[in-house]
Every structure is written in structure tokens, then in C-alpha cells.
């Protein structure tokens, strides 16, 4: 390994990233490597002092992502059982966020290619969906009921459940 030199390949080097709203963040290279996009940029020597611009990731989620990657990079291999448990606890706490932030994390983690975080955010969203009625899900995730009256009619023909949830309750509530 080129550990003796101060090249970009040095694993102790800090990588700078810039959020869409212009805030700068730093993280160890090992942390940045957890993002597929950042890793490719580093491999292509695009990581310079000015920082890697991330056009679609705002400062708030980026701070979280830097936090996530730094934590996970520090404990990437050869975990003891306790460390693995601690990382699990960290993840569980980390993802306790409101739906706006969860949404931002979903988009950002997907964009940056942070696999572990993507999975975490996806699972959290699925857990939020569980047990909710369609109307509650629309509320939670801000989804508009975009079924046309014709489609509702079709659902009604196919299935009584679907008919009842897409039409009358919203008017009765």
C-alpha cells in the first residue's frame, strides 16, 4: 500500500463535500468510500480542496450521511459482537427521524449510492407503512389520491375493500 506517501490514496486523508446549499463537510476517505459516487470521484482524482459538489443533497441530510458514513467506516471490518451490537443501536437511533428527513435520506442515500443507509431508510419507511390504512399512508407520505372516478369504479367492481377505502371513507371522515 502507498501508506508512506501523501497521495490521494492515503486512507487518512479527509474528503471534502459540498451540499447543494453550499455548506462544506469533511469526512475520512474510508467514510467517503462507503458512497459509490464519492468513491468513483476519488478514484478519478476529482476530490480536491474545493470539495466534491453534491448538487441534489442539501446540508441537513448531508450532515446525517457524513455522520453515518464516518461511524460505519470506523467500524467496517472485524467487528466484535459488542461492536456489531453498538452499530445496530446506532442505526436504530440514527433512523429515528421525521418523514421529511426520511424522505431526504432516501433520495440522498440512493443518489450517493450508500447501500447500508439506503437499506436502513427503506426498511424504516416500510415499517412506517405497515398497519396503516391507505388514507393514513397518504397523510404520512403526503400522497395525493389520484385514482380517477373510473378507476375507483373499476376497483369497486373487482374488490369491495378497495372500493370502500378509496371512496366513501374519505367523504365520511
Amino acid at each position: 500500500m502507498a501508506a508512506a506517501t501523501d497521495d490521494a490514496g492515503d486512507s487518512n486523508e479527509m474528503i471534502r463535500v459540498v451540499s447543494s446549499d453550499g455548506e462544506h463537510f469533511e469526512m475520512p476517505e474510508a467514510a467517503a468510500n462507503l458512497s459509490l459516487v464519492l468513491r468513483h470521484m476519488i478514484e478519478d482524482d476529482c476530490a480536491d480542496a474545493a470539495g466534491i459538489p453534491l448538487a441534489v443533497v442539501a446540508a441537513k441530510p448531508l450532515a446525517k450521511i457524513v455522520d453515518y458514513c464516518t461511524k460505519h467506516a470506523a467500524k467496517s471490518s472485524g467487528l466484535t459482537i459488542e461492536e456489531a451490537e453498538e452499530l445496530k443501536r446506532f442505526d436504530a437511533e440514527f433512523i429515528e427521524v421525521d418523514t421529511d428527513m426520511l424522505y431526504d435520506l432516501l433520495v440522498a442515500a440512493d443518489f450517493m449510492g450508500v447501500e447500508g443507509l439506503s437499506k436502513l431508510a427503506v426498511q424504516r419507511t416500510a415499517d412506517l407503512i405497515k398497519g396503516k390504512t391507505p388514507e393514513q399512508n397518504r397523510e404520512t407520505f403526503g400522497i395525493v389520491n389520484d385514482f380517477t372516478p373510473e378507476e375507483e369504479e373499476e376497483i369497486c367492481k373487482e374488490n369491495e375493500w378497495a372500493f370502500q377505502i378509496t371512496k366513501p371513507p374519505s367523504r365520511l371522515c
Binding site: 441537513k60 424522505y103 398497519g131 399512508n137 403526503g142 374488490n159 375493500w161 372500493f163
Partner: protein
Amino acid sequence: MAEMGAAAAVPVIPEDVVIEILARVPDPTSLFRCAAVCRRWRRLIAEPAFLRRRWPRGTGGAALLGFFAQRHQIQANARRKLTKLFPTRAPALVAAPDRGRNPPIGLGRRLFLTDFVRDDGATAGIFDQAKPVAARGGLLLMRVFPRAPSPPAQNVLHLCVCNLLTGKHDVLPPLQTACFDDDGVRGYAILTATDHRISRIPSGGYNTFFQVLLLGIHNGDHQVYLHRFFSTTATAIMPPSWSTPTNCSERTLGRVWGPYGNRVAAVSNGTAHWLFHGEGQSLYTLDVSIDADNIGATKLPLDALPIAVRMNRSSTWFRLETQGGPALWFFTQAIPVVAGKMFLGMESLSSVCIGEKSGTMLTLYHSDQNRAYVLNLPSGVITRVADWKRWFNYLTAVPFEINWPIDWALFGTT
């Protein structure tokens, strides 16, 4: 902006991320509800590739979610231990066996009716001790025991209908049962708007359109009476109420005993059927049309007992089906039961309830109620219900099935 409201934002989440989310929604009911949220989710869920991912080929019976069942009354000294397992006295969901391929329902935590239906407001606690009696088309009919008034009125039947998709429930007006004989209600049926084939909008303060049919035998004249309840009324002035009981024996049957086998009616082509014994070991179905006031009986051309409800000595099942038009019952086929080594004998294996849509039957030995099995009627394959525990009261087990709003044939359940 980071503060961008989710309303504008959600459509921007890449499609494959949404697919990943939907693929991780743990239980079929939740996923079903997702399909009714918006067009995009519905389209993604109805995608054959997605469905194959959730239900790989060969995992037939996915329409059967599980069984709702109430627990036996327990001793005080066992209560503490069970309180941990059962934080509520609402009926529990016993997951159907799914041959280990899908993530099991509930992912480690037992689900209860209260996970599907809100139990709050004026009727909070209504599901405590509730006994499921029938389910159909997403509706669950239960007998409930309201705390007020105290002491509870004698000879009164309280029923509650839950819609597991909307999470709402309706408590029906109490029904006086003083005229019923000692066995109380003999037969149940719950019907949805789908059975009526016409759109019916609930009225009279009800969340859902449904119809409940009850059969009782009068303690005086020993004749069968039908009690009917519609959640909607023709006139908006009167709230929905129980109909005046109709004497079925007078019209059709004469002296009968039963119903035989299942208390829950088989419903097909807009008619509910119960099986009765008549004079001289004859067998009848009582046929109640669900739209009109049309009650009839069909004598079954059978010598032996129809075995839709019992296994015979040669370990085969006979299935009875109604064939369009007038309800004619006949043997369709004998289905060999693919039995594993765990079966000591077939004779004592008894039917508990039948899931019509998925063609499954919950069965157990009366001599060993710790274990229950699901029999897939078309194939004869029998699978142990891992989730069944000795403290479930099999008399209250009701199969709960989902009608997917998408083409079920996509699943390739053969």
C-alpha cells in the same frame, strides 16, 4: 429546500427505491392497503415481477392471511406469563403457514385485531374477549361483550363488524335471543357489497356496507328462524335494524337438525347455504338469497354424509360445490391427502373452518389441540400451522383471506 413538504417531494423518490420499500412491507394486508393508496403504488405492486418477488411460484395460498382466534379463558396463575405474550384480550392473528419463503406476518411480534382496527373512542375495549364468528371479503364478524351496562343484560347478542382494510368497525344493534333454544345462534353469514353485485353505499351511520344473517332454532316451536341485518336502509329516516325473524322451517324444511358441520354459511352466486339434517337422515341445504326475501331448500342427492366437513376412513376428501344457477350440491372429487409421518390416524382429524377463496381448511385433532394443520383442498397438501398454540380456542378460529385487487392468476398458484 430541505424543508420541502413531502407532498411535493414523494414523486421524486426513484421508482426502484419505492419498489424496495414496498417489497419490505412485512405483511400482506399492509401491502394490499398500499395498492389502494395511489396509482403509482398500485401499478408497482401489480407488476408481475414484483408479485413474483413477494410470492415466488409454488407458494400458493397467499390469499390466506391467517386465522383470527380468541384464547381460552386462563387460570390466574398462568396469567402473568401470558400477559407478556398477549398484551391485549383482542383476538389474535394466527399466521397461515407459508412454507417459509415469505417473511412471516408480523416479523416476530404477534399481531392482534387491534393492529388492524382502531379500538378507541366511545367503544374502546370492545374487542376484549371478542369471539370471531365469520369473515368474508375483508370484513370480520365477531361476537362482543360490552362492559356497559353492568351487570350485562341476559339473552342479548352483541355483534361487531370490522373492516380490516379501513380499520373501522361497527357495533350492531343488540339482538334479543330469549326465543333461541339453548344452543343460541346456529348459523352465521356475513356478506359484502361484492356479493350483491351492485354498488351499495353504507348509510345510517355505518362505515361499510354489509349484511349479517343469523339462524336460530326457536325454543318453543323448534323451527329455524332467519334474522337479517342490513347496514343500509331503503329510507334514510329509520336507522338500520334487525329484520323481523323469518320462519324457514315453515316455508321449506319441515323439522330439521343442524346446521351440520360449519356454522358459517357457504356463499355462492348471491345465496348463502347451510347444511341441515332432515327427517330420515336426509340432507338439505337451506338456501337464503341475499338480495331478495327468497328462502329455499335443496335436498341433497346423497346417501353418505357430505364430507366437506369431515375426513372419511380412506383418507380422502369429498368436496361439495354449488354450480351456477340453482344450488345443487354434489360430490366433485376425492382428494387424496398428502400426509406426513406425523399423522397417527386420520379419523380424528376434524375440520375447524374453511377458507373458501384459498381453498384451505384449518384442521386439528380433538385429542391434541396443541397442533393445527392447514389442508389445501385442491392439492391435498397438509401443512402444520407453526403459529398455532394450545391456548387458542379452535371454536373461535375464523380464516381471514384477502381478495387482491389485481389479477390473482398472475401468481401461478398451480
